[in-house]
Amino acid sequence: MNLNGKISLVTGGAGGIGRAICEKLAGLGSFVYICDIKKAEEVAQRINAGYQEVRASAAPCDIADRAAVESLYARIGQEKGGVDILVNNAAVYGPLADHHFPHLSHEDFIKTIQVDLSGAMYCTLLALPRMMREGWGRILFTAAPMSSSGIPSPYLAGKAGFMGLTKYLSRRYGEDGIFTFALALRHVDTPMIRKVMKSRGHDPASAVKSLHEESLTGRMITPEEIADIYAHVICTAPPGLNGMVIPADGGITYLR
């Protein structure tokens, strides 16, 4: 498996899951743009320190901001010609308090869905022309099962929106060599899950222990395992798997 010469853009690339994906893709030879609102430079430096050549570049950007995304793509176009692999991974959970209907404000709904769905749409629409020209592309979405409960409405709207996008893109662009996949995640062992549990009034340590036990595997999936799945799909998935939504939830959704 190698991705030599391929240009990747990973949104939310400096967070727990995103950073693992960036490291993995760079390790396979791809040049990776690390898109995030903060710490992108830190992650890029860490990746580049492990190689003789430059394999990563910070792409500080708020993907909810259309103009910023357009500027980022203009930059990538000038530097590398465009994006071959797009990982739509960025997401915000919304306000940690008052995020349930009907208390969630209009402003918070907009802020959340702009990042979680519009940001991915902007990145995808701007990536497609180059992928079509090249006759090769991979688009991936970090999604969630539609049945996820207790998740704020704009966050789940964004994640569910990825399902429609995955189905459409795979049908429409599969023959152009562009394959699309979504990874439906439940609980992931990241600092974010502790913040969310704390915001719900749970003791983070015992809540995380419960989440580990909730999975049929006895533990939550790690960011590194998610990155492995993405890399495997990007490098090896045959056309027949195009459009697949891959459940990676420890069996919670379908087996319990």
Binding site: P102, M121, L128, Y155, A157, G161, M163, G164, L165, T166
Partner: protein
């Protein structure tokens, strides 16, 4: 022959958001003939000027009023719902039938600009959130309020309009919005069922204009007392 409705609707009160859409008109015409008092609610640039008179002329006992709101204006939605409840007396149903028929014709790749996305997301998904939020206090007042969301099976299949046709360019926006609505509904359902209000959905198939009986049956099913236990579910009309 259309099936008999599952309940007696006489005297119930409902708001139909997106009343000027094809589905909105079909549902409005049906409910008003069953004696439901209705408020036809539309976005400013989506109003069919003949709709109110057309529905009123059906000659039923149901009172019919209309309201217009501006896309994305929260205060407008709250004011319109408050006025509708004042005029109708109360609120039992909210039907979100906004559907991308007017001004959202399928576009080619060259036209797939970011403006189209921003507009559709705002008009369809964000406004559905706003109208649901504005209606909720009224629906919850005495409990038992029911909400129906309409979206499209394209959110599940990725296929565009037209049975058996290859996916049309441009429906990427529809697919994303439609599945986003499903996710939003699932989350809202969980939050509001403790207040006695349910929300369920109907996903329209590719030939929905020829599918009136099933559309009306599905609407009736979610509004009826037959399915009080259902919450956050979608009937897919493939």
């Amino acid at each position: 022959m259309r099936a008999e409705p599952m309940m007696d609707y006489a005297g119930k009160r409902g708001v139909i958001f997106g009343a000027s859409s094809f589905v909105g008109k079909v549902v409005a015409s049906d409910l008003v003939q069953r004696g439901v008092h209705l408020c036809l609610l539309d976005l400013q640039n989506h109003v069919d000027p003949d709709l109110l008179q057309g529905v009123q002329s059906l000659g039923s006992d149901g009172e019919v009023i209309s309201k217009v709101v501006t896309s994305g204006e929260e205060d407008d939605f709250i004011k319109a719902l408050d006025q509708a409840v004042d005029e109708l007396g109360d609120l039992d149903y909210l039907i979100c039938a906004f559907y991308l028929e007017r001004g959202y014709e399928s576009q080619g790749m060259d036209d797939l600009n970011l403006d189209s996305w921003d507009q559709l997301l705002g008009d369809w998904v964000v406004n559905t959130f706003l109208v649901t939020r504005a209606a909720f206090p009224h629906l919850a007042r005495e409990g038992g309020g029911r909400i129906v969301f309409f979206n499209a099976t394209t959110g599940y299949t990725g296929e565009g309009e037209g049975e058996g046709e290859v996916t049309v360019e441009g429906s990427i926006l529809e697919c994303a919005c439609s599945s986003a609505l499903t996710g939003m509904m699932t989350s809202i359902a969980r939050d509001i069922i403790p207040e006695g209000v349910s929300v369920n959905g109907v996903a329209l198939g590719p030939n929905y204009r020829d599918d009136l009986d099933r559309i009306l049956w599905a609407t009736d099913f979610w509004l009826s007392g037959m399915c009080d236990y259902a919450c956050g579910q979608i009937l897919r009309l493939y």
